[in-house]
Symmetry: C2
Subunit: 347 residues, 2 copies
């Protein structure tokens, strides 16, 4: 299937074209950047929203994702899901997408779920995820859920390719809260304390609020310890300095398995999107993401150029004996190779 | 402290010089590559062995590390530990190094433990870890333990900078085994089933052996379900095709909290080191690691060059409007920038 044919197929909403396109991009096969370049022209027209969902293993993210899919479908919105698991099955169990596919959403043609492996995506997982989301947008999905397991740097980078980021926590993760660096936590636009019917849920929510600097005094709070199913939001008084605006990340209580609190999450997502639009941040963030993407694509291209430059491997091979016996260091040799590549690269 | 002064200090085994050196390398401060280049000349002289320890959170890696430290100290060997946690505290609890430091090993000046954060180490964590291990070797530590939480690609890359890699599993991780891709599991030289006094330990060990392709018929096996404290190894009959040799990764039972099975692990590590020496793989692997390191250093240098090339950001800024409104794509612009950087870079 030619690139032109795939582009046409995406416009006609042919599932086979979408599958082909994703596989091309995931594996970085010949022409994948040309495909993405074609697709780019039609993006950002406003009908699609991207929502990132992240959190530690076992926080109930796939259940929550399933609930969100149901809510969006009830609004007659089409939904694409990219499920990324940068960890092995050891920590995360089966891939979310596989699980969801087998359950309720699997039969609905307006829902598309793709699990992404991380093989070969060294340092570029966020970029590849964003590129796959581009394809889903080009295909016409109105809500794109980007789900990732874990809260390391990679996972956060992935989740932050979305317009709205949801961090899902559970009471069990409470012990770790005090040791968290603010940098790790302050990435989300919306916080969800899932499994809020369990002991410790209220304490966790309070800790998150304290950490976010939400002032208690002003807060409207509905406290119903141990069986909270009502969305609770922190009060005013806090700005996200980085954005210069005044979105105050709500901390929502949820029991996703029962569906409790999901409507509140959908409402918070809507409010956040309106906030992004009205504050001008939607366009600003998109520009910043496109700049970042361009840098990432450039870095990928440079890496490829250096790798494929025949002198790189030749020089490396020629110097390896000296490096192994200590006469030269990897740093000397790398500097020498870079110098040669820089000065001698033919156009 | 000048680079020369730090190099001297390392040779004189001054703790302050080591701390300074590690901080320089971790933060990639001016001169860090010059320092590493100096240090490189004295490495690989044979007295130091590097041991990687990895596994899912909760597998008891820090307890095992502590036991190994005790055994090595009993042999009067000095021990350096680099504890790398690429995940946040959510999944892994407190950093291993911090925990160990507070316990038995903390008072012994022949033991040095360094916890490494992963901030900023995008895609380069394995390289930085290896560089810190170089410093520990230059300082004269005879055993270097490189411990990392998790079994994703990053963690495996980190663990594999060592000469011998130990993968620690627990019965609780058993459910995931069948879904494991061989590529993830076949990275270790030695497998440890920790907490072997728990139900399911025997089954897990068998599953790992099956997965490794160890033939049951020939195996010497000591089976003592639920309270195994004896090292059990798989039999002959399997080759690690990738190495072309015949090391058969043993699958050891252990209860690290009681110290059971630790002697067997130390013995297996010794056997593995002898195997590496006699088969010539020790030198071959070192060469391959040095080649990889040179490539990684080159990539880092290229990234820095591109980032600091003023035209990169200028061109990006000039094109961003067109990218945002869809007239151009990130791919076009990246190609244009690469072209300019390649052809116009001054020596």
């Amino acid at each position: 299937m030619s690139i032109e044919r795939i582009v046409e197929g995406l416009e006609r909403r042919e599932p086979a074209a979408l599958a082909r396109a994703i596989s091309l991009v995931e594996n970085q096969r010949d022409g994948f950047e040309r495909l993405l370049s074609h697709v780019h022209a039609g993006l950002g027209r406003g009908g699609t929203r991207r929502i990132g969902i992240t959190g530690p293993p076992g926080a109930g993210k796939s259940t929550l994702t399933e609930r969100l899919i149901q809510r969006f479908r009830a609004q007659d919105l089409t939904v694409g899901v990219v499920a990324v698991d940068p960890t092995s099955p050891f920590t995360g169990g089966a891939l979310l997408g596989d699980r969801i596919r087998m359950e309720s959403a699997g039969v609905d043609p307006s829902v598309f779920i793709r699990s992404m492996a991380t093989r070969g995506a060294h340092g570029g997982l966020a970029t590849t995820t964003e590129e796959v989301a581009d394809l889903l947008e080009a295909f016409g999905f109105e809500r794109i859920l980007i789900e990732t397991v874990g809260v390391g740097q990679t996972e956060l980078d992935v989740a932050r390719t979305a317009e709205s980021t949801v961090l899902v926590l559970v009471p069990e993760s409470g012990d770790g809260i005090q040791t968290l660096k603010a940098g790790v936590m302050e990435i989300a636009d919306i916080y969800v304390v899932n499994k809020s019917d369990r002991p410790g849920a209220d304490k966790l929510r309070q800790e998150v609020e304290v950490m976010l600097g939400i002032r208690r005094g002003n807060a409207f709070r509905h406290v119903a310890p141990h069986h909270t199913a009502v969305a609770v939001e922190g009060g005013r008084g806090r700005s996200r300095a980085a954005d210069g605006g005044e979105w105050e990340p709500p901390v929502l209580a949820m029991v996703a398995s029962r569906g409790d609190g999901v409507d509140e999450l959908v409402a918070a997502l809507d409010r956040h999107f309106v906030h992004l639009q009205q504050s001008g941040k939607l366009a600003a963030r998109r520009r910043e993401r496109l700049a970042q993407r361009t840098r990432a694509v450039l870095e990928r291209a440079v890496r490829q150029w250096i790798t494929e430059d025949t002198r790189t491997e030749q020089l490396l091979a020629a110097r390896l004996d000296e490096v192994a016996d200590g006469r030269r260091s990897p740093y000397d040799v790398a500097a020498e190779i870079l110098d040669q590549v820089r000065t001698g690269a033919p156009r």
